[in-house]
Every structure is written in structure tokens, then in C-alpha cells.
Assembly symmetry: C2
Homo-oligomer: 160 residues x 2
């Protein structure tokens, strides 16, 4: 339908040496959007009372110094996140920029492989290796400097 719709099978670079990269779909889904807030309970209550959206899971990630509340919005997840200690990077984010959109997370099949592809493509990595995320996922951040100003999290969910 779109005027610029593209199809890998009609790729006009198909004769280029490196065209094989176009076959690799690394980002398979938007995993979640994360919103940094000062007061987690206040945000949870507001989303519930005004918007009818409920928290499905709540977890403290000690390594990051954050508490996460997952709002289920239909089949999508929105994470409300708040720092649990003053030296959390998220506390610095809130001090500097206030509450607001913090990161965009994409689902990947293999976090280590996706991270390696990002490294090879010249992306600046925040995490050199996958590490533990919410609900025993494997996660890695890519720096906003090479992602059009967006802090991106790659998430490999724990097998069901």
C-alpha cells in the first residue's frame, strides 16, 4: 500500500556482494517501551484509573538499580521504571531530563548474535555482552548516539 513499500525479493541491491545482510531480520517485534517515572505507584494508579491499563508484573532489577512495572496494553507491554537507589543511571536520567520515554526494546531471537551484528555494523554498545533482564530475559543496550537518539534494548526472552 505504501509508496515506498519494499520487498526483500525485489531488492535493488540484490547483485551487491553484501546483499545477504538484507535477508537477516534481527528485530522480530517491539518488545516494550519504557517510561521513566519518579513515583511508580502514582504512575501505575494513573494508568489504571484513567486508562484502564493494569500491571501484570513488578520486579526490582538490582543490577540496574531500577524497579519495573509492566503495564499490559492489549498484546503490548509498556514498562514503567523508577530508580531504587541514588547511583542508578536512571536516577541521573530523571535528574537531567525528567520523567518521559526512556528506551525502546526490540525482541531478538539471539541477543548475542544481534549484539555482534550491531557491533559489526559500527554501533556503539552500552553492554558488550548480553546480561540478565526482567523475567530472566537476556538483554543488551545499544547507545542512542548510533540509533538516531534512541536508547535501544535488545531482548531475548527466556524460552517458555
Amino acid at each position: 500500500m505504501g509508496i515506498s513499500a519494499k520487498n526483500p525479493l525485489e531488492n535493488d541491491d540484490k547483485n551487491d556482494e553484501d546483499s545477504s545482510e538484507y535477508d537477516d531480520v534481527l528485530l522480530t517485534e517491539v518488545h516494550h517501551v519504557a517510561i521513566a517515572v519518579f513515583d511508580l505507584d502514582e504512575a501505575i494508579e494513573e494508568y489504571r484509573e484513567t486508562w484502564g491499563v493494569w500491571v501484570d508484573h513488578r520486579e526490582v532489577l538490582e543490577v540496574d538499580g531500577v524497579e519495573v512495572a509492566i503495564l499490559k496494553v492489549g498484546g503490548s507491554d509498556v514498562q514503567l521504571i523508577t530508580p531504587t537507589r541514588d547511583d542508578s543511571p536512571l536516577a541521573a536520567f530523571l535528574d537531567e531530563r525528567g520523567s518521559g520515554l526512556h528506551h525502546l526494546a526490540y525482541t531478538v531471537d539471539d541477543c548475542a548474535a544481534a549484539l555482534e551484528a550491531a557491533r559489526e555494523a559500527g554501533h556503539e554498545l552500552v553492554d558488550e555482552e548480553p546480561r540478565e533482564g526482567v523475567l530472566d530475559s537476556k538483554v543488551a543496550f545499544i547507545h542512542p548516539r548510533t540509533m538516531f537518539g534512541t536508547l535501544v534494548l535488545l531482548v531475548e526472552d527466556r524460552p517458555a
Copy 2:
């Protein structure tokens, strides 16, 4: 599974006079996440080459002074947006903050009704009435000041 999972049927406010509001699910899905970029073609190419994500639709919204490219990431949409003229509010956003996450859009069944609920709940509205969005949707922005720093777009899709 979550320690704070809540169920409307077990709502501890169920005896309150205004408990009926908890039954109204206004936000039915994350509709899209929008990323403001300076160069749309560059961003589209980067998402395609590194991440294997393709543009499904591209459209200029004259009223907003923006061009939109919809990236399909599995069943999710990520919009890359760029200004088409200097007096576009998005041009001011880019000047002030640089590229990055711009807004979070939620699907609603009825944009006018959701907007009215937001008004009644005390939210600051950017759009007093629904207006035309991408792909003939009805949309309305809510100001970040009352949405935890996040510019929120309510989207009622055109009936299929």
C-alpha cells in the same frame, strides 16, 4: 505471575462510588512508537541494512508538516518522522532535543470518547478534538505534562 498483578474483579475499590471507571479499558493496544529523525532516508536505510526492518508505508501529513515512514517490526509499528517545513513543531523538537523518541501512540476504539475521558480526568490536551492522522486515522495528542513526560497520541484506526 507478578507480585502486584491486579484483576478488575478483585478491585479493592469496588465499593467506591466511582469504581465503574475501572471497568473502562480505553487504551487497547500500543499503536506505534515514533522516532524523530533529521534524515528519513538515512534512518530507513539503517533500519533495513543493520536490522532487517522494512518500510511498509510512507506519507506526508501536510497539517503537521511531517513525513512519516512506518517500519513493520513483526506485528508492531515504529514510525520514523521528519519535518517537511521549518515551521513544523517537529522541526522545533529536533532543534531543541535532537533526534530520538518523540511520542507513544495508543490504539483506542473511539478517539473522541477517549479524549473526553482524558479531559474529565484533568489531562492537558494538545488537540481539543480528534483530527486526521496517518492512513485516515483519527488522532489526538495529550500533553506530556500530565502523562509523566510522555507525549501521547490516541489513535482510532479507520475501519477496515
